[in-house]
């Protein structure tokens, strides 16, 4: 099975959610591999994060401003390609201010700076981490991914 944490970008809150899902630990986003790396998010393909203990592959994906529309398309595509719904689970991750993250990625392409990523990391860790943890836990409970 594949699991995608879907959000406005694949390198901010979704990456934090994927790491939380895999490790059950709240780590410093700024130290995560690929965090705020807009090059990884640039082409719009799923970003591989790791494998959980059951062997499920975990990805993040940045869908831009309309995450729920993207979720619908992805889930319909799974059926169209003759796969089963449980072959791919999509979990949208929503945090306050996430609509700004694609813009931050665009700014980072023009002005490469680690400080922008550090500001986002600090914001997520200080104000949004509980919300992300709740969303990840809810997802695990719903699909019994413990």
């Amino acid at each position: 099975m594949k699991i995608i944490f879907l959000g406005t970008t694949g390198v901010h809150h979704t990456l934090l959610a994927a790491n939380l899902y895999l490790t059950d630990e709240i780590c410093d986003p700024a130290r995560m591999q690929d965090f705020a790396d807009q090059r990884k998010d640039h082409d719009g393909k799923p970003i591989y994060v790791g494998r959980d203990e059951k062997g499920n592959e975990v990805y993040t994906l940045g869908a831009g401003k309309d995450v729920l529309m993207a979720k619908k398309s992805i889930e319909e595509l799974v059926g169209i390609l003759d796969f089963y719904p449980h072959d791919l689970l999509v979990k949208p991750i929503k945090v306050t201010g996430d609509s700004l993250f694609p813009f931050i990625n665009k700014v980072s392409t023009v002005i490469p700076s680690k400080s922008i990523g550090r500001v986002v990391a600090k914001y997520l860790k200080s104000t949004q981490i509980n919300s992300i943890a709740r969303q990840v836990q809810g997802f695990k409970d719903h699909y019994q991914l413990h």
Binding site: K2, I4, D43, G44, K45, P46, Y48, E57, Y59, L61, A63, G64, D66, L68, M69, A70, K71, K72, S73, I74, E76, L77, V78, I80, L81, D82, F83, D87, L88
Partner: protein, 155 residues
């Protein structure tokens, strides 16, 4: 193979392209207004249809032809779905076709007025003029797509 024609609303250019692909409409001559409106889904979608991948039919080679509206998400949306197909192991089954580069301003304005504002009586004539103007550009896109699909299927 699964062929998905996509545009802003999944209601006009993608539907016309899919209809041309499926030979629901003659590619040799401009369609009449009645023929356009009679096409399945043409100028008949609403906001709930954004992101939905709707089946239009099967072509003579067994390819399934779909339409989809992806708002102003650009090519990134197609890349995203291709990426998802890739991780599932179904990338070679999927052909995404962007119709937006064949769309003119009359189609955009007419489509917006008819579908988003809901002023069908105003938007539809503008849309029909734009569709007729873009018709042979869409015919060209469909011809290219059919060749790609045949090559992909090893025909």
């Amino acid at each position: 193979m699964k062929i998905i024609y996509h545009c802003f609303g999944g209601s006009h250019s993608s539907v016309l392209a899919a209809s041309l692909h499926l030979k629901l409409i003659d590619k040799e001559r401009l369609p009449s207004k009645c023929e356009l409106i009679a096409l399945p889904f043409f100028d008949k979608t609403n906001n709930d249809d954004f992101g939905a991948i709707r089946l239009m039919g099967n072509d003579e080679f067994g390819n399934q032809v779909f339409v989809m509206g992806k708002k102003s998400m650009g090519n990134r949306y197609a890349t995203m779905l291709e990426g998802v197909a890739e991780i599932l192991g179904g990338r070679d089954q999927l052909l995404m076709v962007n119709c937006m580069n064949r769309v003119n301003w009359f189609m955009k304005l007419g489509g917006f007025t008819s579908r988003r504002i809901g002023a069908v009586s105003i938007g539809r004539p503008i849309l029909e003029k734009g569709t007729v103007d873009a018709f042979f550009k869409l015919v060209n896109l469909v011809e290219i797509t059919r060749l790609k699909a045949m090559a992909g299927a090893g025909l």
